[in-house]
């Protein structure tokens, strides 16, 4: 198993930390992982993205241009990465703010209205965990147990009391994610 | 009385400190470096710290200072001695660390390292020999060259419009909270040497207090660079250098000394003309 993922959106949406939690969960589940961010001024309000690879084998390149899954959180990122999904791969996106929806017919596309849901139930800061839940619903490459351990490892200890809330947000994400176009 | 009768321990009035090696100094006759070296070495000897002293030599006339001091020594790149001393002291806090630098090294190319070591309050001693000229490279303008003073690169005299003003870096450093003791001395008369030595001793002893950096400027002559005889050079120094670089303590125990005006600006001080 090798899953090559791109997570892309605005800086401040929790793109990098979502990737880190996913990667750390992979580590805890004894997978090989890599987490390769875009960095620099982009992180300060512009677009941010991170490639995460989770694999049973030694990872060759942490820098990749074709992905099994693209998790897309704004229009610019959708425009940039829609065509980078491998045929038969998966595109998960939040329709909030999206005017030009994905058009590919050779991949599975799912929508997750995480922005709206997070605002609705007052957990804006856990928006990214809702999205992660949506991903894990269709690609359960790491199990709940190891997500828990991943959260423990990647969150500073003073935030450990928030782990149950994070896990609840993941569950919500699994519930609200819906197919947009499937093969 | 035969010579051998005189050479007896009870007749000994002065001897070279063991902290100076027997290497013959390369300094020009009349130069202040030899005396400055001697008082630093004597202080190290008298404080009994030869085995825990680390010296840092500059680039300039005193580049070979390490050959003359019998203590462990590092030779720095031009201007970087305070950076070397910073790390040497921080990694060896029980050692006494000093830099020995000239005006070009300390106040031109190494200004950043000087100011920041002083501002961090490194517990080191900096000995700054100011003769207003680049001696080793052949008498070019230094940051401390006086207005109107001739040098190889100011053959018609330092021109403020072209070269700016002499840098009184010692006064500047005294304003920094990281300096604990800042003084300006000279070594051209026996009385001056005694005072300079007391200042150097204070500057080394201060390292034990951990209260900041101790800085001793020694205004010196460069008779070769100034193209004078040693006696003329000393006289010229008194008449021209001292008004610009007044001798005495500037900051003691972390406080600016009363009646010292560190903001005093000297411009257009008439140079005493010497036969050249």
């Amino acid at each position: 198993m090798t899953e090559e993922i791109i997570i892309a959106g605005f800086g401040g949406q929790g793109v990098l930390s979502m990737g880190k939690i996913l990667a750390y969960s992979g580590v805890m589940q004894d997978k090989e992982v890599s987490w390769m961010p875009s960095y620099g001024p982009e992180m300060r309000g512009g677009t941010a993205n991170v490639s995460v690879i989770i694999s049973d084998e030694r990872i060759s390149s942490p820098i990749i241009n074709q992905f099994d899954t693209a998790i897309i959180l704004n229009q610019q990122s959708l425009d940039k990465f829609e065509n980078a999904v491998k045929p038969g791969g998966m595109l998960l996106y939040d329709p909030n703010g999206i005017t030009h929806h994905p058009t590919r017919k050779d991949i599975n596309i799912y929508q997750i209205a995480a922005t709206d849901k997070a605002a609705e139930i007052g957990i804006a800061k856990l928006f990214n965990m809702i999205v992660l839940g949506g991903f894990l619903k269709y690609k359960p490459i790491v199990t709940d147990e190891f997500i828990h351990k991943g959260l423990q490892k990647s969150l500073p200890e003073r935030h450990h009391k928030l782990i149950p809330e994070n896990e609840r947000a993941i569950k919500i994400g699994m519930e609200i994610v819906k197919p947009y176009h499937t093969l | 009385m035969a010579n051998l009768d005189i050479v007896k321990p009870e007749n000994l009035v002065y001897t070279k400190t063991k902290v100076l090696t027997d290497a013959i100094m390369h300094y020009c006759p009349g130069c202040g470096h030899g005396t400055a070296h001697r008082i630093v070495a004597e202080v190290i000897d008298e404080l009994g710290i030869q085995d825990k002293t680390i010296g840092v030599a500059p680039v300039g006339c005193s580049v070979l200072a390490y050959n003359y001091f019998d203590v462990d020594f590092q030779e720095a790149a031009h201007g970087r001695a305070p950076a070397l001393a910073t790390a040497a002291k921080r990694l060896n806090p029980d050692c006494f660390v000093f830099t020995y630098q000239g005006d070009g090294d300390l106040a031109a190319i190494g200004t950043a390292e000087t100011i920041h070591a002083c501002n961090r309050g490194e517990n080191i001693t900096m000995i700054f020999v100011n003769n207003g000229i680049y001696g080793m490279t052949g008498g070019q303008m230094a940051p401390t060259t006086l207005v109107g003073m001739k040098s190889a690169t100011t053959p018609y005299g330092r021109n403020v419009a072209l070269n700016g003003y002499p840098l009184r870096i010692t006064e500047l450093l005294a304003t920094l909270p990281g300096t604990y003791y800042v003084t300006r001395q000279s070594v051209h008369t026996p009385a001056a040497v005694r005072k300079a030595k007391a200042a150097v001793k204070q500057a080394f002893e201060n390292q034990k207090l951990q209260k900041g950096l101790s800085f001793v400027e020694i205004v010196s002559s460069c008779n070769s660079g100034w193209k004078m005889t040693p006696v003329q050079a000393n006289q010229w120094m008194e008449e021209n250098m001292f008004p610009n670089y007044p001798i005495g303590d500037i900051k003691v125990n972390g406080q600016i000394v009363e009646n010292v005006d560190i903001n005093r600006i000297v411009v257009d001080h008439p140079l005493t003309v010497v036969n050249k």
Partner: protein
């Protein structure tokens, strides 16, 4: 910190390895993309645990000279920076080499020239192994290609640095520095005791006891005859490194028709390109340089005898390719592929370059 499995960035791994390897001092200046090194050290507060000194200097010139001053006392002292900062350090590096001071410098490369970009690049190869500063000198240069190697090479660097009394350069790039991967940390090695320091660095300026003469650390020798003898001694040291300390890795070179030569993150990208080529039935191998100086000349020459062509991959205009051509004595086609200015080549591009430039 004991032996543990962690997920961390290459830059963070450097910092943790410095603490764990008994480094005495770190002096640095912030620059993207390596600022996490000093940030991690400051957050870890090693002065409270191992006693390591960490100081933010006023410039890269100051930090490399602080390395000089600290390391000249026989302690393990390190700095890190990125390309423009390393350029500023070149004066310090040649002095360190000339004064034979063991120390560690980490360059997390970004794109140039000039202020360039903050994105990854590998265009400092010449600066690293062909001089950089003035005079005939070499830095032992390690090129990590993973977060684990960023960590492990710090330990290796100290062994080499003190064995040869020579500065060691870890030449990384923004991709490896910013990438997070699994990392197995090691048990702490305590910092040297005073006795160990004096034993391992008898030349150090740690205060002259009555039992020895004064130790002088300098790169100055006004007597040309003596300076020539000293240069011969340095060259002999470099030749010994070439004979004993070459490191490289080969993957699938045994049956390869073509090989890619690369180091650092380019080697990782090339590994993926190699796998893609093998899936297409093209027999491609990877020769990964681990030491850039000493360069694995003989080893590469031996591997090259069995192949039809070589592609070098480097995020540059083609610097390392010169050494590959020298090693293979221009007996087979050697072509370069790279991207500039912080653009990281994709595995697909590498494979395309291999097919168009070498296989044809």
């Amino acid at each position: 910190m004991a032996k543990e499995l962690k997920l961390m960035k290459g830059n963070e791994a450097i910092a943790h390895a410095m603490i764990a390897s008994g480094t005495d001092g770190y002096f640095g200046y912030p620059i993207t993309p390596q600022s996490e090194v000093m940030e991690t050290l400051m957050a870890e507060k090693p002065w409270e645990t191992t006693g390591m000194t960490v100081l933010q200097a006023e410039s890269e010139m100051a930090s490399i000279n602080m390395v000089y001053g600290g390391a000249a006392t026989g302690k393990k002292v390190a700095t890190s920076s990125s390309s423009p900062g390393i350029s500023l350090m070149q004066e310090g590096l040649t002095y360190l080499a000339g004064a034979e001071i063991p120390c560690l410098i980490v360059n997390v490369m970004r794109g140039g020239p000039g202020l360039g970009t903050i994105q990854p690049s590998q265009s400092d190869y010449f600066q690293s192994v062909k001089g950089g500063g003035h005079g005939d000198y070499q830095l032992y240069t390690l090129a990590p290609a993973s977060v684990q190697e960023m960590y492990d090479f710090v330990f290796d660097a100290w062994d080499i640095a003190f064995k040869y009394r020579n500065p060691v350069l870890i030449l990384s790039d923004g991709a490896i520095g910013q990438c997070m991967e699994k990392l197995y940390t090691r048990d702490y090695m305590p910092r040297w005791t005073e006795e160990e320091r004096r034993k391992n660095a008898p030349w150090g300026t740690w205060g002259k006891p009555a039992t020895r003469g004064h130790n002088i650390i300098t790169s100055l020798e006004l007597d040309s005859a003596k300076q020539e003898v000293f240069n011969h001694k340095l060259q002999a040291k470099y030749r010994e490194m070439e004979a004993k300390e070459v490191r490289y890795e080969t993957l699938n070179c045994e049956d390869a028709d073509y090989i890619i030569v690369a180091y650092g993150s380019s080697a990782r990208i090339s590994m993926k390109a190699m796998q893609m080529a093998r899936e297409k039935g093209i027999k491609v191998g990877l020769f990964r340089l681990i030491t850039l100086f000493p360069f694995p000349t003989q080893q590469l020459k031996a591997v090259a005898q069995k192949v039809k062509g070589i592609l070098t991959v480097e995020m540059s205009a083609g610097q390392m390719i010169q050494d590959v051509k020298l090693a293979t004595e221009c007996k087979l086609p050697v072509e370069h592929f790279g991207r500039f200015g912080g653009i990281i080549p994709t595995p697909t591009e590498v494979l395309e370059a291999l097919e168009t430039k070498i296989i044809k």
